[in-house]
Each structure stands twice: as structure tokens, then as C-alpha cells.
Symmetry: C3
Subunit: 138 residues, 3 copies
Amino acid sequence: MKSYRKELWFNAPTRRAFINITPQIEGCLRESGIGEGLVLVNAMHITASVFINDDEAGLHHDYEIWLERLAPHEPVSQYRHNVGEDNADAHMKRQIMGREVVVAITGGKLDLGPWEQVFYGEFDGRRKKRVLVKIIGE
Amino acid sequence: MKSYRKELWFNAPTRRAFINITPQIEGCLRESGIGEGLVLVNAMHITASVFINDDEAGLHHDYEIWLERLAPHEPVSQYRHNVGEDNADAHMKRQIMGREVVVAITGGKLDLGPWEQVFYGEFDGRRKKRVLVKIIGE
Amino acid sequence: MKSYRKELWFNAPTRRAFINITPQIEGCLRESGIGEGLVLVNAMHITASVFINDDEAGLHHDYEIWLERLAPHEPVSQYRHNVGEDNADAHMKRQIMGREVVVAITGGKLDLGPWEQVFYGEFDGRRKKRVLVKIIGE
């Protein structure tokens, strides 16, 4: 069994952002030399997500509105976590969108469906944050 | 390390459906001959889910009502994604229910709790769509 | 490839609870002797979650309020599942918080970000329930 590990760093200029990281994951996979296995891609921070969905700007706009409706940022005082913080909503948005994805590796490629793209979802940006890519296989 | 891959195809006759796919996953596992490892089961489409919960019709009805409340299908015009599409809500419902499950394999069996069943969750059906089963182990 | 399996048992005295299980997972990892690989940690029950977030009491209070708003326990009669049961809401809360996490193992340690802690999330407690820890790697 082979294993591979890499950290990807992000610094979103806005509080919230969706960044397509599929090309970086493909780069990691090539670097790993692994042909069959699984890749785990997870946010290492608890106010961010890694998820798989469509790379379509209208949908990302809809997600932004929808997540704000389900877990509003304001008023920040509604959350007990927000003592010296203002990111309680980000901890909630991340639970809906998820921490991680596991993707199959087949024949040296990410085994994704036709529209599947891997995203970093930032809900409390304007700081450096990391994603972990861990691959195991052969 | 051994690996195994199979696609399962579905064509739900309705927009939304929950289909118990545990027997198919068990069939894949037998076919793989893998006794210890992990199985990844994921929707290959971004308006569908794979999740684990109870095979109980009342609960599935409740899920349907609940998901519609959290991410309503109509009015379709409320979503910017719905330009030539009407499935933005399906992209949201799928995030709540999840893209994938990872299940342990122990002694050649799916290592599930007493009530755990694996479901394909369709939120934009009436077309052919796929689930990926990838098993690694020994 | 090596594999390791352990069940962790819980009996929360309240209907809902968040229990930090990171030390138990670390104990399992040491016991396994696995240095590189993946650990799957999943609830074996369908009204409970395993998730990763912050070990901060204010946030856990906020999660409790938030989950109750998204999937209210009462009136129990609003759910068709609640025939001889009163836990339909727990099946919903668990979908939002997730069934499982997969964590990378690197150099014999859980490869977690600085604030990442693994939690058992109970939504229908006051009974004995289990979490499965499955590790594969070398």
C-alpha cells in the first residue's frame, strides 16, 4: 500500500467563497503515482467545507442565499459561541455542506461523474486556511 | 491490496425517490472477494444522494416533507441556477442528505448497525443516473 | 494492509448530547499499530452522528438551538414515523450533522487541523448505542 499527503492553502479575500480545487486534487493524484485507491479531501478548519457539486455561478449564488437563510450570520449576538468571535454561523453552514469528500481512484484518475467538481467552501475567510489531501492505494 | 469498482444504474420514474440499495452493495462485496477494508458508495450525479438511514415508509414521507421545507422546489424562479433548468432545489437537498457513505467491511460483510440501510436518494429523477461502488481492502 | 476494528459504547443520560470521542479514537489508533492510512468513525445507529467540529460549549448550545429550529422534536405528531416512536426529528438532525467521518492517519497520528475534534452526536439517547472505529493502512 502506498500513501500520499499534501496540504493545500487558501486565503479567500471574502468571508464566504466557493473555490474549485479539482485541478489541485488531480495534480496530487499524479504526484502520488497511485492508480487504484481512495482519496480523502477534507477541510482542516471547522468553519470551512470540502464538497462536490456543480461549477455553476448561478448555483453558487443560490447556495449563498440558501445557507444564509438556514444559518444566518446576523445578528451575531444570537449565538452563544460569538463571544469575541462572529463565526458561529460558519460552524453551521459547514455542517450542511460537509467537512470532507472521499473519491475513488480508478486507472490513475479521479473517478468522478460528468458534472462532479470538488470545491473548497469558505464560510469565515480573510485568513490562511488549509485542506488536507490524503491518498491511499497502489 | 485489492480493489473493485462497479456502477449501479437507476431510472426513478418520479422526481424524488428513496431506493434501498443495500442488497446491491452486498452483491458487489461478494463479487469483490474482499474480506477486510472499506467500501465507498457515492452518487455520480450532483442532484442525488447516497445515505444511510432507516427503511421505514413513514420516515421517508417525513424526509420528503422536511427537505421540501428546507429547500423548496417552487417557485423555481427563486433560484438563479434555474435558467433552462428547474433542479436547483435538488442540488440543495442532496447537500443535506450527503453525496456518499463509507462503510467498513469486516469478515466479508458490510459492517452495519442493526437498522442501517444504504439508500439512493433521487431529487431530480426521470432520467438514467449512476452510483459508484468502490471497494479497497484484502 | 492491516485492519483494525473496535466498537465504542455510549449511554447518554439525556435525549441529546455531544461527546468528544477524540481520545478514544487516538487510543484505537495506538492499539492498531497503523502508521499510514484512513480511519472511519461512524455511528452504528440512525438517530446519532459522528462529526468533527469545535469543543466549545457555547457552540454546542448554538447547535442544539439551531438543529431544533431546522428539525423540531415537537409536536411529535407532525411526523408519520412517530407511530409508537417519538424520534423522527432525530433521524433528521443526524442527516444534517452526518453519520461518519474519515480521518487521515499520518505518522501514527490522527491528521487533524488545530481545532478539529471528533464528536459523537446523540439525538435520541437514554439507551446504549455504538460507534464503529475501522482503521485500514500499514
